[in-house]
Symmetry: C2
Subunit: 611 residues, 2 copies
């Protein structure tokens, strides 16, 4: 095949693994993904007129007659065409005379047919052409032609397929579809409504199949999964979609470790061949541990800079604000160490860090620079004794040129602040060229032992579920439900990948009495709306638990995409609009009538008030 030099360069790129998201991904990558697996390569040309895809032809095809279908990528003097499909590019020569171009192979046209004309495109289908996201969304059907979008969507399809094989064929799960037109859940303020033809009666688009999957367990379908469409109306939020997809799983007779092993196996089995393999089992940390160590319940564990408790070093300090903090309940002194911070962080970085801490956390941050001669450079250097200094260096594993950021205050608050600064500083260091977070690394973590309840934001003396009211309490903490429910831990678990929560689940309550007690007595919910579920638990519900993985986010991380919109064929804008078709749209009043609703415009409600 004849390749002009620029094309040959593109193709040589294929044999290199994709290391960074900014590196362009070219055609045929999908095929190479398939080739490296043990599976047979699908027949891409069955049932259609073409005999081969554009990216498929090699010198082994020499002399064969082929039929290709594709888009014209380039045309030169009506002699050369470069044809493109999802699989790659190929040069076609329309014979003028018997001249022979160099290269491995050429396609000599016998007959050619123009299948459709094409208006001038709003942007060219070439990787190096930059376009705004608004333009990409408006012409989504053109953006989908890019090799990057082809790769993302095809990888997504393949990964989900492997998950299905693992669940259905290897482990006997049953793929069951559950309704999306359902009843609203208590407190389901984020649920889209769907008016019915009965006056005043509405369906609701559920946020997850939670109730159904539990009912399936009661129904003896003891291994359920579904690639489930879910809905959440959160108004405008960046990188969220009003409809999204989760890998939804529920099992009977299972415990937390069972679900964890299942998911580890699932990810290992379905992981793309062109990425480093997944190592199992994943590490597990408790909620208390991740908060103390990373200041967040979804830590990015690809790098260190952990939070260290240095309270003991300062028990007898003369530094006022440390003394003050330590004298209060839950008072602590905490610090993180920024490796080579002295080299990479500027004075104004430190200033903005201190301002951020003051503005958002009402906390003081004390920077301590460790010079090359291991001397302290800090506003409080003179108040730190030599023994304290050595102990600090030991605890923090501080090296030359490092910077320690120190704060004092209530445990949770100090941790949250340092957790934020840890990420901020990592961003800063990376903009200065330090590689802290390897983009080829996938660092999974289980977070367990969450609290079962949290104080309500509106009224901290009341309780709300930390996750949802069906979560089972930790077996060791059941007695606390009747004495100090705030202290009870749950059997909820989160799966975290590179600082993103990609899944969450729990062992559920299968005892109707306990479920009623939690709903009615502890949470003061209206149990009437859940009477069908409570009744179901009464009829011999088996012990059960499950999990849901956020598919869009997972694929986004696997493909290294900047946004989940890059792994969804037709995403909405962050305001919930489809920019291609102008959705949502107005509806003529006569089409609202069958649903017994009227639009109440701002003027309407004014008129109402005037009555």
């Amino acid at each position: 095949m004849y390749f002009p030099s620029w094309l040959s360069q593109l193709y040589r790129g294929l044999s290199r693994p994709i290391r960074r998201t900014t590196q362009p991904i070219w055609g045929s990558l999908y095929r190479s993904l398939l080739q490296s697996s043990q599976r047979r390569i699908p027949e891409f040309s069955s049932f259609v007129v073409r005999t081969n895809t554009c990216g498929e032809l090699r010198s082994s095809h020499l002399g064969q007659e082929v039929t290709l279908c594709g888009w014209i990528q380039y045309r030169r003097q009506n002699t050369f065409l470069v044809l493109r499909d999802f699989d790659g590019l190929v040069q076609v020569i329309i014979p003028q005379d018997e001249k022979m171009p160099t290269g491995e192979i050429e396609i000599k046209v016998k007959t050619a047919e123009l299948l459709n004309a094409c208006k001038k495109l709003p942007f060219e289908i070439k990787n190096f052409v930059k376009k705004t996201e608004a333009l990409r969304l408006q012409y989504r059907y053109l953006d989908l032609r890019s090799f990057q979008m082809q790769y993302n969507l095809r990888l997504r399809s393949q990964m989900v397929m492997k998950m299905r094989e693992y669940l259905c064929n290897l482990h006997g799960f049953v793929d069951i579809e559950t309704p999306t037109l359902f009843k609203r859940t208590p407190g389901g303020a984020k649920e889209f409504l769907v008016p019915s033809r009965e006056p005043g009666k509405f369906y609701s688009l559920p946020q997850s199949p939670q109730q159904f999957k539990q009912l399936l367990m009661v129904g003896g379908l003891d291994r359920y999964f579904q690639v489930a469409r879910c809905y959440r109306d959160e108004g405008s939020r960046p990188d969220r979609q009003p409809e999204f997809t989760q890998i939804d799983i529920e099992m009977s007779f299972v415990d937390q470790t069972g679900i964890q092993s299942l998911i580890e196996g699932l990810l290992q089995y379905s992981w793309p061949n062109d990425k480093d393999p997944v190592v199992v089992p994943f590490p597990t940390m408790t909620f208390a541990e991740v908060l103390a160590t990373y200041g967040t319940d979804k830590p990015d564990t690809r790098f260190g800079m952990k939070i260290i408790d240095i309270s003991d070093v300062f028990r007898n300090t003369e530094i006022g604000f440390l003394q003050d903090a330590l004298s209060k309940p839950h008072g602590t002194v905490k610090a993180i160490c920024i490796p080579e911070g002295a080299k990479y962080l500027k004075r104004k970085d430190i200033e903005s860090i201190r301002n951020f801490a003051a503005d958002h956390f009402n906390q003081e941050i004390l920077p301590v620079f460790l010079n090359a001669n291991r001397n302290w450079n800090s506003p409080v250097a003179n108040f730190i004794m030599e023994s304290q200094r050595l102990e600090l260096i030991r605890l923090m594993e501080t090296q030359e040129e490092d910077v320690v950021l120190l704060t004092a205050g209530e445990h949770n608050k100090a941790c949250s602040l340092l957790g934020k600064l840890r990420l901020e500083c990592a961003d800063l260091l990376e903009t200065r060229g330090v590689v802290l977070r390897d983009p080829t690394l996938f660092s999974f973590l289980w977070v367990v032992d969450f609290p079962l309840f949290l104080p309500k934001e509106e009224n901290p003396r009341e309780l709300e579920s930390a996750h949802h009211p069906f979560t089972a309490p930790h077996p060791s903490d059941i007695h606390l439900l009747y004495t100090e429910p705030k202290k009870a831990r749950s059997q909820h678990y989160d799966l975290v990948l590179n600082g993103n929560e990609i899944g969450g689940g729990s062992i559920r309550i299968h005892n109707a009495e306990l479920q009623r007690y939690i709903l009615a007595t502890l949470l003061k919910e209206d149990v009437k709306m859940l009477s069908h579920l409570l009744q179901a638990l009464d009829y011999g519900a088996p012990p059960h638990g499950g999990i849901a993985l956020g598919l869009d986010r997972l694929i986004c991380l696997v493909t290294g995409s900047p946004s989940i919109r890059d792994v969804i064929a037709f995403p909405k804008s962050f305001r919930g609009h489809d920019l291609m078709s102008n959705t949502p749209d107005s509806v003529p009043p006569e089409e609202l009538k069958p649903y017994h609703i009227r639009v109440s415009k701002p003027t309407d409600s004014k008129a109402e008030r005037a009555h």
Copy 2:
């Protein structure tokens, strides 16, 4: 294992193929389904505490220690338990002394734990217990425990899984999810609305991913499929669901025969092992042929009783109403032959057939009985000449004891009537013990060459699409679009199984100009609402076509279920209600506010008129 005699009988039932839907299906059928295929049996006990399922144990397990989880089906004197899970039943003995029951194997309890108590069930989980459908739907989570529902849902899961393997792994299709919150389509009066947070702006739940799949073709994703959730608000209709599922497929560079071969291969590959294999290719008939032969576009081809045109026999008849009919345009004489009708049809059956024809079609039906001595018994027997008689017997292949039903009139009307009577008579004969339609037989048929347009019901001088406006015209009929569009045939095709339409699709229009002409000039549609699709066609849309299979109906037919509600985990009642949770339900006014809608109750509209 020890089986009491009644249990042993149930199990022996397993080795027999299921011949009729009324025959009960017992546990372990799902396992036998798996065993007969080439696939490995999934691990049903991975990740959980049980070591085996109840239906799995055989004498080969003798002496092993096992852990089982299940529901207590029977209990006798606290000595015997019969435990049930999806896979079957097993007897457990709680040792009292060393007595040894007869049978192959027994499970001697070491420890037992009651996992949950169970209130008195509203109905027992036994096949022979009859319950109303309302009760089944109200306690769906209990109904799901029946071996029949377990079999249906597990077969559905497995069949869809095989379809995915065929499409993804064998033929390179990409599974792509498309949005369900979209813009309403022109004339989409059956689309549910979803109010957005923007005043007066609505999403719509689409009836199919039609637009998206075409846009994916424009986007170069040239082999798309999706197991797609679709929505249609048809109010109360028996055996329809407001949400349903279709196997949605679209391909580029394909023609009608390509799609047909794909689907034949798909069904053959995914067909359950416990049914007779699917024979391909499926026969094909044109729309004109099926109408003439079966009086319907979805004929049940498991049996004959075809419509025969006998106009030529009566060209010179003296029978007035035949003369009259033949003198009019498209006037015909048609008949069907009911085998052994003289034996099985009673005088009052014939009377009710004649009344039906008069009431619903304003047509006369003439019954002709062929006696054992091959004499005619008919009101008009004297007016039929011997030559006509012989010709009729030859054309209709009439045998002794048969009944011929004869009618005269306009071709389409006569065919439609006889098509209805053909099914009515088949029902009648089957209630009298004649087996006309073998329930183990799956008779597929392609119907092609549909008309592209139909006269509008409200205004027969205007046209509407016979299927949808994106259907391509038949290549031989493109010129007719500009002269006699009513006569143009389309490239639409339907797949029919045993008298049910289970799929339909078409080659689409990929030329923007032709699409605009059809939409604006012929159909007088508002093209503004489809401007994004028209624009997409302008940018080099490839030739493409596709199909959608109705999954619920297909599984219903495969499992021989009386209703699609039996192959859906949580179906709605025919009025669109979820009887388990009381859905749809009212919503407090404050939850309507964010969506800028108000309920307009009948009193409201009265008030409006009074203004």
